[in-house]
Amino acid sequence: MLSPEALARIDREIAKYPAGQKQSAVMAALRIAQEEKGWLSEETIAFVADYLEMPPVAVYEVATFYNMYDLAPVGKYKLTVCTNLPCALSGGYHAAEHLKERLGIDFNETTPDGLFTLKEGECMGACGDAPVLLVNNHRMCCRMTRERLDALLETLKRQATENTQ
């Protein structure tokens, strides 16, 4: 179900923990699976459970507990904007409003072309860099002025068309 590369990465995670504690690698395994599949379907969760010799329900519990796992499909680019108080004092909501307007969607919605999903996030531990947003969980964009938000959207759109060509 997952590629040999993904499985090799999961094996490296398993090796970090004592013998018999494979379950400790479940968070990393779900992250790696989500990177490859875009989101975590029931099949993917069952596969991870099988691979780590865990009951599927235990893996499902982990997948639902942590905010960054997606249990439903999202756009090609998931943008998560921090609006917690420190960011809110420095344009967190302004940045979110700007994105909503440019993309024509609200929080928790996806653009009709399936390119962008917008999410509201909690403190990312980067409040001095407000406004802050994450692209697909792993890439942090800091000090996002309106110009830089526009430039980001342009770059991602270009990337998406290049990938499909």
């Binding site: 992250r31 905010n67 403190c123 000090r143």
Partner: protein, 439 residues
């Protein structure tokens, strides 16, 4: 483009291009570890030195680090663990991210020394989910340390063995609570454990474990290099050392400032460029979102250390200083924080699960012009039903902002209830918190 504005110890002379092993060694890194191992220091000597320094935990509670280390059954054989808490998610706090990306080896060296002092041969660093790029860098730094022989078997020929790994979180504030963090490393939902037993007797995989914050571990090589006594004198009695303050909100130069404990708040504010646009200071949350809010004028009289901030009725916590100016609506600010705690409660205890929902809904209705005069009392009684009745301190963390905002800004809450709107016009609020990025 860096949040580091002033580094005087951990963050001194390091940045995006000077985080590697060779840079750390050029700054004197790993010298202390080498000395401890070649001079064959006793475990007690290391712990005594840490005690002398009056280093207190930088993760929020300010517990004396040397004392915590002495609780570990270091003489007993068998696996023990040291765990670093880099799950920095307390709103306002962003210092551990800079330590990890600009000086990762200071954390690694601190953890190796901690392992040595407590008889542990394995450690984990739990890194906040949202900073994946920093996690990747830390993995690279670990690889450097392994290759140089600072990690692994027989470190520097001493016979001491220590392995260290990074564990990446995936978005749960509660995993910053130390026992939730351990559950999370074990591959479970991050739900705090009942204490006792404390981690020093029953921790990771049921083995004795010590958990410290990133900045705590990173301070260790420095305090041992200069000696505990001198570290103590950097700060003030009972409040040893340098401390990194993360300044955010309505200031001209948000960022990390590493300054001596006991520095006047007014100096820190000045370092941060003063209040944005020359506006008037209204309030400060001096220790991360869970710390009680302090009115601006009271704050201007404080020094930045555990004791002074406690006297002002708040907590130094993680050292996250959230500055709010006169354009801030205190009801809206509290509404956002209450939503956060409601959203992040792990749901295990009824007073926290239900209570945080109550707090959020009541503050929300006051903010949206549907509050009633009884609501303030309702909020107060809701907090007293939460505090002290929960498994972990998140319940208290959710309650303290509510209590302190109402205590100090009661008139503003009453104005909302009576007039169905804020004293500060919405357009003034919106403009006051616009995107602000220094050139």
């Amino acid at each position: 483009m860096s949040t580091l504005k002033l580094g005087q110890m951990i963050l001194k002379d390091c940045d995006e291009s000077r985080w590697r092993l060779a840079d750390y060694e050029a700054r004197g890194g790993y010298q202390v570890l080498r000395r401890i191992l070649t001079e064959n220091w006793s475990q007690e000597r290391v712990i005594e030195e840490v005690k002398t320094s009056a280093l207190r935990g930088r993760g929020g509670a300010g517990f004396p680090t040397g004392l915590k280390w002495s609780f570990m059954p270091r003489q007993f054989p068998g696996e023990k663990y040291v765990v670093c808490n880099s799950d920095e998610g307390e709103p306002g706090t962003f210092k551990d991210r800079d330590i990890l990306r600009y000086n990762p080896h200071s954390v690694i060296e601190g953890m190796i020394i901690a392992g040595y002092a407590m008889g542990a041969s394995c450690g984990y660093n739990y890194i906040h989910g949202e900073i994946f790029e920093v996690y990747e860098r830390f993995e690279e730094a670990l690889e450097e340390a392994r290759r140089a022989g600072y990690l692994g078997e027989n470190i520097l020929g001493s016979g001491f063995h220590f392995e260290l790994y990074a564990h990446h979180g995936y978005g749960a504030y509660i995993c910053g609570e130390e026992t939730a963090l351990l559950e999370s490393i074990e591959g479970k939902k991050g739900q705090p454990r009942f204490k006792p037993p404390f981690p020093a007797s029953y921790g990771l995989y049921g083995k004795p474990t010590t958990i410290n914050n990133t900045e705590t571990f990173a301070s260790v090589p420095f305090l041992l290099a200069m000696g505990g006594e001198q570290f103590l004198h950097l700060g003030k009695p009972n409040n040893g050392g340098m401390k990194i303050f993360s300044v955010s909100g309505h200031v001209n130069r948000p960022g990390n400032y590493e300054i001596p404990m006991g520095t006047p708040f007014s100096e820190l504010l000045e370092l941060a460029g003063g209040v944005r646009g020359g506006r008037k200071l209204k309030a400060v949350i001096p220790g991360g979102s869970s710390a009680p809010v302090v009115p601006g004028d009271v704050m201007m009289e404080c020094t930045m250390d555990y004791d002074s901030i406690a006297q002002a009725g708040s907590m130094l916590g993680s050292g996250a200083v959230i500055v709010m100016d006169e354009t801030t609506c205190m009801v809206k600010a509290l509404e956002r924080l209450s939503y956060f705690y409601y959203e992040e409660s792990c749901g295990q205890c009824t007073p926290c699960r239900e209570g945080t929902g109550w707090l959020y809904r009541i503050v929300h209705r006051i903010e949206h012009g549907q509050g009633r005069v009884e609501d303030l009392e309702l909020l107060e009684s809701a907090t007293s039903n939460i505090m002290g009745r929960t498994i972990c301190a998140l319940g208290d963390a959710a309650s303290m902002p509510v209590q302190s905002f109402i205590k100090h800004f009661r008139d503003e809450f009453l104005y909302h209830i009576e007039h169905k709107r804020c004293l500060v016009p919405p357009e003034v609020q919106w403009a006051g918190s616009d995107i602000y990025v220094e050139a």
